[in-house]
Homo-oligomer: 240 residues x 2
C-alpha cells in the first residue's frame, strides 16, 4: 500500500524569463496533463530565477551575456534530477548552445516545437521581441521549413516591445491586450494565415479566441511536447 511506481520523466524548467510566463507555462502543462489525482501529474523542477541578465540588452546593446547564468541553472537542474530541460522563453533560445554545452540532458527547443505546429500554413506572421528577431532563430527555422514569413514593421516592433515590458511589469489591462491584437491583425492584413506568438509574454494578454486566424502559441506548443516527452509518448531527441 502506498508504494508508488513512476515511469514519467522529470522536466527541468529554466524559468524567470519572465517569472509570470514561467508560471503560465507550468499552468499550461498541468492543464494539458490527463489526471485523476495529484500523483498523475508531471514532476517539474523549476528554477524561477529572475536575475538572469536581460536578454534584449545582451543581443541588442552589448549587455552582459546571460548564457553563463543559464548554463549554471541548467547544470543545477540536471544535478537536481531533471531528465530533460525546457525554457519557456523564445529570446533566451539565442543562448541555447551555452546550455546544451553545459549538460548531458536534452533541451527541448521552444522554436522547434512552435515551427512544427505551423505545418498547415504557407505564410505565417511573427510576433517576437526585437532581440529574438535579431538573433534570427525563428527565421532560420522557418526558411528550412520553407515558410513565407511576415514580420512586424520597425514601428510595430517598437510597439510590441513597449507592450511586452508593460506585461512584464504586471500590466495586463484591456489596452495592452487590444494593442497586441492590433499588431496581430496588421500581420493578417499583410497576408499571414496564422500568427506565431513567439514570445511567452503574449499569451498573458492575447487569447486564441480573440483572433480571426490561428494563433500559434509557443507556450502551448512547448507545453504539449513537454507533456508528451515526460509521459514517454514522444522520444527525446539526442542533444542538439
Amino acid at each position: 500500500v502506498g508504494e508508488l511506481i513512476n515511469n514519467k520523466k522529470t522536466v527541468g524548467v529554466l524559468g524567470g524569463m519572465g517569472p509570470e510566463a514561467t508560471v503560465d507555462f507550468m499552468a499550461t502543462v498541468i492543464a494539458m496533463t490527463p489526471v485523476e489525482k495529484d500523483q498523475d501529474h508531471i514532476h517539474m523542477l523549476v528554477d524561477n530565477d529572475p536575475t538572469i541578465p536581460p536578454r534584449q540588452d545582451a543581443i541588442l546593446r552589448d549587455g552582459a551575456d546571460p548564457g553563463p547564468a543559464m548554463a549554471v541553472m541548467a547544470k543545477g537542474l540536471q544535478e537536481a534530477g531533471a531528465d530533460f530541460l525546457v525554457m519557456p522563453c523564445n529570446t533566451a533560445h539565442a543562448f541555447a548552445s551555452q546550455i546544451t554545452a553545459a549538460v548531458d540532458i536534452p533541451l527541448l527547443s521552444i522554436i522547434d516545437a512552435t515551427i512544427s505546429a505551423c505545418s498547415e500554413f504557407g505564410t505565417v506572421g511573427m510576433l517576437a521581441t526585437e532581440g529574438c528577431l535579431r538573433s534570427d532563430v525563428y527565421q532560420q527555422a522557418l526558411r528550412t521549413a520553407e515558410k513565407e514569413l511576415i514580420l512586424p514593421s520597425d514601428a510595430e516592433l517598437q510597439d510590441f516591445m513597449s507592450l511586452t515590458f508593460r506585461i512584464k511589469r504586471g500590466d495586463k489591462g484591456a489596452d495592452v491586450a487590444s494593442g497586441m491584437l492590433r499588431l496581430s491583425n496588421a500581420l493578417q492584413e499583410r497576408g499571414a494565415q496564422a500568427v506565431i506568438a513567439g514570445c511567452t509574454e503574449i499569451p498573458l494578454v492575447l487569447d486564441k479566441s480573440m483572433l480571426d486566424i490561428a494563433l500559434i502559441s509557443s507556450t502551448d506548443e512547448l507545453a504539449k511536447q513537454t507533456v508528451a516527452c515526460a509521459r514517454g509518448e514522444r522520444a527525446l531527441d539526442a542533444q542538439e
Copy 2:
C-alpha cells in the same frame, strides 16, 4: 554594465501538493511583488513533485508516510540554494517536523501565516481537509490565539473533500465554486465572522469577492510573508 546586485533571499517551494495550487501560490507571489522589470522579482526554486504519497491516506487510513519524501525534497531545495522554505499545502504541515529536522534553513509555516491574519476576528470558520483537521494543526494554533472556531459538520466535510478532489482533477466548474460557497456560507450562518480557506485548492474556485464576510486565504497569507521575507522586510525566525 550588466553587473547585478541581488540582496533578496531565495525561496524554496515544496510543491506538487497539488501542482495547480503550487502554481497559484507562485502566481500570487509574483502578483504581490512590486516590480519594474523581470530582475525585481523573487527567486523561487520550485520542486513541483506530484509523487509525494497522498497526505489524506497517511493521516486517515494508515497510508505511506509522505514525510520522508518531503524531507528529501527539502534537502534538495536547500542544496540547490534555497535560503528558506515554504510549502503551499496546509495538510502537509502535519508532517512539517520531518522537514525541519532534515534541513538547516527555516520553514515559513502556512498555518502561522494564516492565523496571524485572523487578529481582528473573534470567531472564525474553517474550511480544511479531513486530514488537516484530524492532525489538529489549525485547532492548536487557534486555541493559542484564543479564537472561537467553527468547523464543518461531518456531512459538510465529506462535501468539501469531494469538491477538493474534483478541483485536483482539474474540474473548476461553476457548481464546484457554488458548492464551496455553500460550505462557507454555512459557517457564516453558524456565527463565523471570517472563513479561513485552510486548503490551497480553495482559492482555485472561491474568490474573496464571492463572500459577504472575510475570506482568509492561506495561499495569500503565505505568499505575503514569502515576499516580505525574500525582500528582507520581515525577519526569518529561527527554525522551529
